[in-house]
């Protein structure tokens, strides 16, 4: 037998083993991709299944009498009198009329526990809107307490969760349910109110407004600065050590952990320049520094993609270097730059670590109305709610995450659409 035939034999023998290895390798690859896709799927399913309930919330129907004597208010236009008014008496009396048989201190306390502790103030707002109601009686749907809400939803789903409820309360809810006096309604509080210690009263409006102000400032600062820097580096910078140094800095800043930017903001903006804590101004400044590298890098890529022939044509027609850039290169690379800006903004919207450092983690009830009002942002609100012990906040947190994710999805879709639609290929 010759040597080559020997080899052939060997190769044939090993062939099936090698083919098996090939197949195995292919399966490793498929598994890896499936793991990644499964992670996406599990994450979204988990969040949605936890959070979808928060968009509806339990209300209890009660007969409310706006009794002047009980509230202790005669003149609805006098703000001082309004703050002194005993508004809780309204909701409490209504509860007692609904369940007249309840007596005893602890039973009464449990009874009042059925409705939100802020219900009295909701009734106050209602009364102020319609002053004619004073002295009248009407049937009103009143916000239920968060424990009741959790229990009622889980009970409707067939797996009652009654850990924080007493037997009496369960009976009362059963009674209310049979009379059709408890129901789930769309949870508008979630979208119209600021933060609260009471889960049923808490909303994301404050955080969304805070995010909005912070992002506006970030965009206004980082987009022009980033584009200018990119134009300089691509079109005007001489090739020397200084330029190289700038580039190294930009690339490194893009990879610096975001929390370090928080330390920078704390030490420089707050302790050195005395910018007040917790305000969108300082948040916007920190996020600007953080998103700048992203915007510079994407803008440079956009400028690079404009073919040199365009510049040469403009220069050939007698345009100055500046006119070339301003009139030709910039408009052509603008879609790419906008895409980069949107991606940078999406990053900034989801960022929370540096904002924890600069005090945007405070508990703020009021909805911010400007750049210098104390505020928090959506991701930090999620962090705060996730830390709260009340069970109802899990649902709220997931709902807030769903809202945050939908903002991000919209922004990224717009970015992809812009890139596909407006970017030209040469």
């Amino acid at each position: 037998m010759t040597e080559s035939a020997n080899h052939l034999e060997k190769i044939k023998k090993s062939l099936s083993r090698r083919n098996r290895a090939e197949k195995r390798f292919r399966w490793y690859g498929r598994t890896a991709i499936l793991i990644g896709l499964a992670a996406v799927l599990i994450l979204f399913t988990d969040i949605v299944s936890k959070g979808h309930g928060a968009f509806r919330i339990a209300y209890i129907e009660l007969e409310v009498t706006y009794d002047q004597d009980r509230i202790g208010v005669d003149n609805l236009t006098d703000p001082e009198e309004l703050t002194r008014g005993n508004w809780e008496a309204l909701s409490k009396t209504a509860m007692r009329t609904e369940f007249p048989e309840v007596s005893g201190r602890s039973d009464k306390r449990r009874l009042y526990g059925l409705i939100s502790s802020g219900a009295g103030f909701d009734l106050k707002d209602r009364l102020l809107e319609n002053p004619l109601l004073l002295g009248e009686t009407e049937r009103v749907w009143i916000l239920a307490d968060d424990d009741i809400d959790t229990y009622y939803k889980s009970w409707l789903d067939g797996e009652p969760y009654a850990a924080r409820m007493s037997a009496k309360q369960l009976e009362w809810i059963d009674e209310l349910h049979q009379q059709g006096k408890i129901r789930l309604q769309f949870n508008s509080n979630l979208f119209t109110r600021g933060d609260s210690r009471e889960p049923e009263q808490a909303g994301i409006r404050g955080a969304v407004m805070g995010s909005l102000f912070t992002l506006i400032l970030t965009l206004v600062l980082s987009f022009p600065i980033g584009v200018s820097a990119a134009i300089y580096l691509e079109e005007f910078a001489p090739r020397n050590r200084w330029t190289d140094f700038i580039e190294v800095n930009i690339n490194n800043l893009a990879a610096v952990p975001s929390i370090i930017f928080g330390l920078l903001g704390l030490a420089i903006f707050i302790n050195f320049f005395h910018v007040p804590r917790s305000v969108p101004i300082v948040g916007g400044l920190v996020l600007t520094l953080m998103t700048l590298p992203t915007i510079i890098i994407t803008s440079r890529a956009a400028i690079k993609s404009v073919p040199p022939s365009i510049r040469e044509a403009a220069l050939g027609m007698g345009a100055s270097k500046y006119q070339t850039v301003l009139h030709h290169v910039l408009p052509l690379s603008l879609p790419g730059m906008l895409t980069g800006a949107i991606i940078g903004m999406a990053q900034a919207l989801g960022e929370s670590a540096p904002l924890l450092m600069i005090g945007m983690v405070a508990f703020i009830v009021d909805i911010p109305g400007g750049f210098s009002d104390p505020a928090t942002v959506l991701p930090v609100q999620i962090f705060l709610w996730a830390d709260s012990p009340e069970r109802a906040f899990i649902e709220k947190t997931s709902a807030a995450i769903m809202i945050l994710l939908s903002f991000l999805i919209v922004m990224n879709t717009v970015a992809v659409w812009l890139r596909k639609r407006l970017e030209r290929r040469w």
């Binding site: 090698r18 083919n19 290895a21 390798f25 292919r26 690859g29 890896a32 991709i33 990644g36 992670a39 996406v40 988990d46 969040i47 936890k50 022009p224 600065i225 200018s228 820097a229 134009i231 300089y232 910078a237 140094f245 700038i246 800095n249 930009i250 490194n252 800043l253 990879a255 610096v256 952990p257 975001s258 929390i259 370090i260 330390l263 920078l264 704390l266 420089i268 520094l289 700048l292 510079i296 100055s320 919207l349 989801g350 960022e351 929370s352 670590a353 450092m357 210098s372 991701p379 930090v380 999620i382 962090f383 996730a386 830390d387 899990i394 947190t397 995450i401 945050l404 991000l408 990224n412």
Partner: protein
Amino acid sequence: MQATNILILILGLGVLAFFLGRGRSLALAKPLGGIRKLHSLPSYYGMHVALWCALPSLFLLCMWMLFDDPLINRLVLDSVAAEIAPKDTASYNLLINKISNLADGILPRKGESAALIAAADHLVSLRVISRWSLTALLLTLSSLGLLWGWSRISASFRARPVVEKVMQNILLGCACLAIFTTLGIVLSVLFESIQFFRSVPIFDFVFGLEWSPQTAIREDQVGSSGSFGAVPLFVGTLLVSAVAMVVAVPVGLMSAIYLAEYASRSVRTYAKPALEILAGIPTVVYGFFAALTVAPFLRDLGASFGLSVSSESALAAGGVMGVMIIPFISSLADDVITAVPQSMRDGSLAMGATKSETVRRVIIPAALPGIVGGVMLAISRAIGETMIVVMAAGMAAKLTANPLESVTTVTVQIVTLLTGDQEFDSPKTLAAFALGLMLFTVTLLLNIFALHIVKKYREQYD
């Protein structure tokens, strides 16, 4: 809001200056026979006047904003009566706050001493003076600039080069912001760290085995040893990052290989963006997922096998962090794998190697430097990742290599040390900056090294 109004005023003046300058250049050009006789286009003359009008004022405004408050505070404190004069920095800050709150009407004036009220009134009057003098100064400066720029306009005046020079310097300034940011980071963490190392020796910090940052208020307080040995934090950080890498590197690398070498076009167009979704999800969402879904699941799973898994285990935090990093590694690896020249694949296949053998024996070795660089970048991200560990890892510093136990990390400690109500110059807050310095140094070195490798590698095949 005062500053905003002034800013709008200056910008408005600038716009006015632009039109005045342009108008003058047009008027000058008319008798000469049209704008062709001018050196530059009319808009450049306008820009020239506008720049003269706005830039000096903007500069003055910035300077004023920086030095306004400290100066006024100084003046107020120099004038306060001796009985309330502050003795040290802390009481200085307290007094300033109190006076300014009184002046703003946040604190009621009833019941405060006459000296304080006098100081508050003094502050109010100084602020009014400052505001009016600033407005007057800025208006004068803007008008002077406008007049100067306007008077320089003539048909032979070279407006375009001047304007372009100024613009170029503005652009350069924007580009240099990156350097200032880096400088700001270095200075801010360095100064506070030096202050920290004055009270805690640097050797004890880097090599100390015990971390309990509560400093004692009383001598005999329990559990307030105040030891700042950061080794448990470093070990915890490395443990969590190692778990993350164990998840992310194989999955990320294999999916990159599959997508680059095996997948059909349609799979690639859908699977790739789907994986990239993982990169776009905010870290706080991962933190919530890790703390409320993965950690309890792992704990129950461990319990069913008779293992005690902490509900804040390093495994949960690291595993979820690994999922977050998958797309990061896969896209970096994808870049380097597709950069390997096709001829190398063809050569290997022509020699009779199967596809997987080509990948393993030819492509991966060729792409190795790039892959290593990508993994190093991923490690630096894992080390610096904050929200996941803040929400899902523990607070107590434990020196352990067991991923089922709860550990704490550098970033968790920075957040816990700085979000409490602490005096700024206590060792506790300063320790956070020292940790920040460590974090920055390590990630910076990793990044520089990784970027260097990746760049070298790219040049090899370009």
